[in-house]
């Protein structure tokens, strides 16, 4: 890690290192996937909160 980071410059008002940009893109992709992808093996269950009396 003892090398200078590569930076991307957008116009003159924003600069971000490639590694930080990659991490942010991965997090956004994970978030979108977590919302959109169906959960495998989801079983039908009650919406009752555990421990709550009916």
């Amino acid at each position: 890690m003892n090398v200078p980071a590569k930076y991307i410059h957008f116009n003159s008002w924003l600069q971000i290192s490639v590694s930080n940009l990659i991490v942010i893109v991965i997090m956004l992709a994970l978030f979108a996937a977590a919302i959109l992808l169906p959960f495998p093996g989801a079983r039908s269950k009650s919406n009752k909160v555990p421990g709550e009396k009916k």
Binding site: V23, F39, S46, N47, P50
Partner: protein, 213 residues
Amino acid sequence: MNTETQTTEDSKMWTARLRNSWQRNLPIDKLLPDTQPAYVASWIYVFGVLTLVALVDIVISGLILSFAGPAWYHSSSLGLFVNSLHFWGVQLFFVFMVVHLWGKFWMAAWRGRRTATWITGMVAFLASIGTAFTGYLIQTNFDSQWIAFEAKDGFNAVGVGAFFTPTNIGQIMLIHVALLPLVLGILTVMHVLLVRKHGVVPPIDAQPEIEVV
């Protein structure tokens, strides 16, 4: 009411009061549930426990690193591997925690008396940043030297330079391996117990009492 129960309820002992309070607030079926509401079957609910898994990796690899020392983890191949497990565990920890944070923010997870759960999570996030920062400072390479000297100017500028000295590796090492893990550990336990007490937050449009077929 039998005699034993009456004795327990009437007792002024702090142990009895603590036990009764625990049983009232966090009975065992809430602490260790075997079912969850249907809305939990979504990937967005997985990221809290993924964060915990990454934390376990960080703690175990960190314990090995602290016992073996820098001479081992900078030179031997096994040491470098455990060092990498620690480093990449931290990257995953933050990625999972940020996705968890986004998910909970957009479903307004502080609803339903869950303010303390939200606050402990938020403070744990801040403590994690401090722990990661002190970790970067003790890499004992040029990168950590650069970060330490930049941070030194920052701390001096805000007037706390007398208390935090990023260039003092002994101080930073102890903060990283003892103080902040303790704080983060306590906050994590509180956070998880509060999640157990109040249950995971339902989506905004969920109707809690409806049976799903």
